[in-house]
Symmetry: none
Subunit: 133 residues, 4 copies
């Protein structure tokens, strides 16, 4: 399935990071699956009216993190997802993610129930699959 990108040049989030996050979201929610192709660097740069280097930087980070893989002369494709980080490192990152969520949700005035509810709702968008450890 294809993916529609939306870039906000006025955001404090760098353009290349916005691209990275949109691809990561699409992969996490199953909108993009293993083997799906991304637009070519030139095509996406042209569509978003940004420099090809900016797109290339985003794609490079995605490839480095194993989300995608570049095939010579053919383009960038969604890779088979596999975990290379140690269990300890992954747990550390998950704990940090949870701390940020709880802090910000609390400061926004939301209760534990409201916070969990929106997480559960969001997770419904993620397709079932065997956990890859």
């Amino acid at each position: 399935m294809a993916i529609r990108f939306h870039i906000t040049t006025s955001s404090t989030t760098p353009i290349f990071r916005q691209i990275v996050e949109q691809v990561r979201t699409a992969v996490a929610t199953g909108k993009l699956v293993t083997g799906d192709g991304l637009p070519s660097v030139r095509a996406l740069a042209s569509e978003l009216v940004v420099n090809p280097n900016t797109v290339a930087k985003a794609y490079a980070e995605l490839c480095r993190d194993g989300v995608t893989e570049a095939r010579r002369g053919r383009g960038v494709f969604v890779a088979r997802q596999r975990q290379v980080l140690s269990k300890a490192e992954r747990n550390r990152r998950l704990t940090e993610l949870a701390a940020v969520f709880v802090r910000e949700a609390t400061l926004l005035g939301f209760s534990r129930e409201e916070g969990l509810s929106v997480i559960v709702k969001r997770w419904a968008a993620v397709p079932e699959k065997e956990t890859k450890s």
Copy 2:
């Protein structure tokens, strides 16, 4: 109650942001409550061995977001927490926070149960209080 700051100069997170986040966490978890005073800009800068401008920048952001308030000539204090954002905007932000958490947790290979479990655990650090909506 006082707050102990821990700054990591080697982190990719800017120092001023580390200060901001530690105050926000302290307020969210009830370690700091309405009326509690923060160290003076000079005192904290000296203690953390950072530029006073950096501390001032952090305090300015906290005041701007309504977490703290500056009382002329007396210092910076934790403000009475009140929601200035519209219900719609707060819901939008909560949804975005949840999307980030679910996306990253999923890509790290965690299941819905593991993700929720760590959120619940983290929320245990937040004291009960009436929801401020």
Copy 3:
């Protein structure tokens, strides 16, 4: 301790990779230790007569891999080395490294004894330290 860089622009190995490898070697052999500073992006670019972006790309990869860390406004420093990859992934990489070494050494006409000997000799340059797993 400082580090002397030697770049070969005629090599097929990209300049940014040559920089990366020289820093990795210096860290692996203890010539650079935790906390040591690298030359600034601009200083090294000027010294090597390459574009600052090329040096920045090398430094970015080193930081991403945890070899170094950038401190805001101060420069890039050697980080405390820690392992974030899973044991399985690290074993996989070591096996691949060994396969390459054995293949090339064999084709160069060297015996097992000669190959091991030069590895042992090279390892003598690595300072003793507790294995970090």
Copy 4:
């Protein structure tokens, strides 16, 4: 003996290099010996579903390095392995290979014993033969 090729189009390693390395490995481990024939360019390209130019490029490099030799109108065959490089050059390359192995193994957190062990294990796949110096 024949050789089975396995190409990963998603790898960052160019296809022609994968072919080169698999032939080199087969020769180094004795799976292919002097006089053994390689598949024709067209046959291999067809089997691997790659561009014939890619296979031709791989064979050209193998011939240039003396691993194989092309016999006009008959195909490409494994050459009698002989060392064309000077002893000094071969020693230089072996030292460089060892440096890379030790550097990366060290940064992965492996000890000298672990590194040597995996080299020894890998070398067990190489048949005994008189050293060709």
